[in-house]
């Protein structure tokens, strides 16, 4: 697990109110948006702002689509691509 992976798990833990260690069980296939009813638009918006702060990236609204939150793997790939492009 690299730093980006760890930070992203920590952010999701904070948003979802997970117990310590619980986010470690996320795999690339773990579903996010559709599978987690608590992730409403306000929670997703907070998640994105927090990702910008903690990962030091800037996310453009055009980059946000449903597929981004389909699974933990897709969100992590997005975060890594942002960091790679920075």
């Amino acid at each position: 697990m690299d730093t980006t992976d760890q930070k992203l798990r920590a952010i999701l833990s904070d948003v979802l109110g997970l117990k310590p260690g619980q986010a470690d069980t996320f795999t690339a296939e773990t579903g996010l948006f559709g599978d987690l009813p608590e992730l409403d638009s306000m929670a997703v918006a907070g998640l994105l702002t927090e990702m910008e702060d903690r990962l030091d990236i800037v996310i453009d609204e055009d980059e946000i689509d449903g597929e981004l939150f389909e699974s933990y793997g897709s969100l992590l790939a997005f975060a890594r691509s942002k960091l790679g492009a920075a």
């Binding site: 904070d14 979802l16 992730l39 918006a45 702002t49 609204e61 946000i64």
Partner: protein, 226 residues
Amino acid sequence: MKAESYPCPLPGGAAASEYALVFDAGRKHRVLIAPALFDEGHKLRRFTVEVMRRLDGSGIDSLLPDLPGCNESEQDLALIEPEDWRMALDAAARHFEATHVLAIRGGGLVLPEKLGGWHYAPVKGASLLRTMLRARILSAREAGREESVDALMEQGLQMGLELAGFSLSGEMLRQLNTLVPGKKVGISALEHELVGGGPLWLRAEPDEDAEQADALAAVIAVGIGA
């Protein structure tokens, strides 16, 4: 804990009676709470009251005023700007004879003039605004409508905008976008790391956390020396 009210100045020189939740036993140390704003205000209200309960246990009074247009207030939020909130906090500070202020998140953007104290988990107004704009864009998209931050802001600055269920005036949007937690003499910034655990304003569902409330109240009580 009891419900009180305070005389709150309104734009245009009028005044209204606004509600305040207080732990008031007429004690020497009296902490005015500048509550978190907008959606974060809802998410952090229980936590805020839990901190007040602990201050009460430490022999410290605390006072949580409703800002005009927020919570139980009957004022129209669409007519309010941040400066009105600062004036409301000033008025509450005088009415309740507060000795300190504890600002939570966005509450620290409208600190009352004369009180020293603490600002827990400071945030820029622009960050609060951006998160609300994003939430609006995301829910519009789910409904099949495309909106953009730039277009919404342009429209909002002229005509006001509804964000996350809050009607915000153009002036509110303009000021919010530029407000930053200032370095104010006598105000100590308390980063969330000091309190520990997951930040409650990020939670998808409002929650409370006894350890976080203990930690924040302890910092205040030690700082006051009660």
